[in-house]
Amino acid sequence: MAAGPAPPGGCPSAQRPHLSKMERVVVSMQDPDQGVKMRSQRLLITVIPHAVAGEGPRRLGWGASGPALAYPHPSLCCAGSDIVEWLIQKYCISEEEALHLGTLLVRHGYLYPLRDPLSLLLQPDDTPYRFQTPYFWTSTQWPAAELDYAIYLAKKNIRKQGALVDHEKEHYNQLHRKISHTWDLVVMQAREQLRAAKQRRKGDRLVIACQEQTFWLVHRPPPGVPSVLEQGPERGSCTARRVQMTKNMDFYRREIEYCRKALGRTRVKSSVCLEAYLKFSSQHGPHDPIMSGCLPSNPWIADSDTYWVVNAPSVAAPTKLRVDRWGFSFRELLEDPVGRAHFMEFLRKEFSAENLSFWEACEELRHGGQAQVPALVDAVYEQFLAPGAARWVNIDSHTMERTLEGLRRPHRYVLDDAQLHIYMLMKKDSYPRFLKSDMYRGLLAEAVVPPETKWRVFPFMRKPRRSSPSPALLASMEPAAAAGGPRGGDGEA
């Protein structure tokens, strides 16, 4: 097979451990004493001659009757029920689980059914299955290259004399377009491989053809069948560690280091975690538009965007739910522009507005452009940190020392320590006072609760959905539309 591109990611087999586990299961199945019970299946090849000249499809009958020509050839296979039994016994699992495990083995191409090769399922009855040859095992993860697929399709084309399945025809044409420069090689190899196969016994030839077919069913599944080899997005190197066979000093040193680091990680008890989860869910439940509905109405259903207008980032009258959320945590308050504005006003009254200004300036530094970093750092220093500055913030000496050290080589994260200190100060001190203040209480009282739109009497007669006109059309239609009625009003029932 052609060497395709190297597999992406560091260690592919470490990223797909299920494949090597399946391989181990299959290998243990081969054990002569403790493996699966094998039976020998007689294979009869029936040739049904066609009346029309020139065509002679060949059909396979596994133990079927009505032969015109019988070729007895005992070949080893095992029944589905035997496999399930063996799995139950070896791994002490229930029948349902054994069935599922067996189906996984079949779907990944380690076993294939003889009677109906296209349906990759494990039937717990007498249907015979056979093992796939190690060359075609998926756990090796040798790339199934386009050249190989092209050769396989060419061989199939020759054998079936042009009668390929639809999706295979499509693939064939696609491949011809993609690798047309090596098409000579494809044709040559296809012909030669078929000729080489002729040197084998008929039974062996069929078995090998079945094996190859199964391999390509797994690696290029027909449309409608999900591909078992799909992987999610590439993960970082955290999970990919090479399985090393020779365990030398370096290996053990690395293991010790890894375990030491793992011990030092902070862990939270699951009871604490789960409590936090529950608290979050119960607190945010009424605020979630999917769980508790949204007022005035769901824009996607009622076709009116009042909801978005009312909850715009900067709106004069915030809704009650929004004001409630400011009380959940300091972060919610700061993330909401309206909340932040009100908090700034409150701080002004308390004469500690410079804290919030400093925090905002630090955020701008962190997320701003790289070119502005030196200028911004200087500005922040002049305004907030220099002794005798106009808006001096109160930072403890230790943090101030560290910040001044870092200011010699300014980068965008140099003010992180100071920012964190001020943030915690505001959170512990100003924020609780804000929540208890008259200002906040007033905001809560003033907050609007948008009324829910009444359901129409006849809900079936919904307003016909109109797609919003493009801005180009809108500009030309402006004078005409002004004469007409309002565009999106709730009109007739």
């Binding site: 060359y135 040559m188 190899q189």
Partner: protein, 235 residues
């Protein structure tokens, strides 16, 4: 002529690669045996010899500055096929090494997989070496030594490929293959040797229906002749 020689070498290499592929398919399965490993070794050594010879010829031809455009295009086409073939061979050799290491013949700790293939593959190896039959003459621990040799040969082939790429610069996308899509269905014509398997496959059912038609026709003819004789006799 150089071109015919190159083509012949390429065909032989193609044949050897295909046979090697078929042999590697059964490594680790129930058909694996000492004989198979020996056949693998012989086939791949033959393939390597052919590859070295073909490479020398093709490199000499392509580095010749005084080659006409048409000739050059022809050689480039052969070159692309040759390097593709060599890639296939190298990949198969690597896989044979991996499988051979994973399934050692004389250590029962990892039994062979029962795949249902039981026959010998001596015919395939004989085909690759273009001999009539093959003699097996290996000692007991053949497979272990063979694996070490195989490792070295894999590296050699890898180096050869690398050398090839460095010495001759053939942009693959400019090469126009001679075979079109579906060319394999045409029997015999084309770059490879005559006697396509498609004709063989089609011949048998054609023969049957043709034989049937011939039998029916002759029966009808006999009946007609008999009737004519009767009519002639009666009248």
């Amino acid at each position: 002529m150089a071109r015919e020689e190159c083509k012949a070498l390429l065909d032989a290499l193609n044949k050897a690669t295909a046979c090697y592929h078929h042999l590697v398919l059964t490594v680790g399965s129930s058909a694996d045996s000492q004989n198979l490993r020996e056949e693998l070794q012989k086939t791949r050594q033959k393939a390597q010899e052919l590859a070295v010879a073909a490479r020398a010829q093709l490199t000499a031809a392509l580095r010749d500055r005084g080659l006409g455009a048409e000739e050059r295009a022809e050689f480039e086409r052969l070159w692309v096929a040759f390097s593709g073939c060599l890639d296939l061979l190298e990949a198969d050799m690597r896989r044979a090494l991996a499988l051979g290491t994973a399934f050692p013949l004389h250590a029962p700790r990892r039994p062979l997989v029962h795949t249902g293939v039981t026959g010998g593959a001596a015919g395939i190896a004989a085909r690759a070496l273009s001999v009539r039959s093959l003699r097996h003459e290996a000692e007991r621990d053949f497979d272990v030594n063979d694996l070490r040799e195989l490792e070295r040969e894999v590296l050699q082939v890898g180096e050869m490929i690398h050398d090839m790429e460095m010495k001759v610069n053939v942009p693959r996308w400019t090469v126009q293959a001679r075979q079109a899509a579906g060319a394999e269905l045409l029997s015999g014509a084309g770059a490879s040797s005559v006697g396509g398997v498609s004709t063989e496959g089609r011949r048998r059912p054609c023969d049957l229906s043709k034989a049937l038609a011939a039998a029916v026709f002759s029966a009808v003819l006999l009946v007609a002749v008999a009737l004519a004789v009767c009519v002639a006799k009666l009248s």
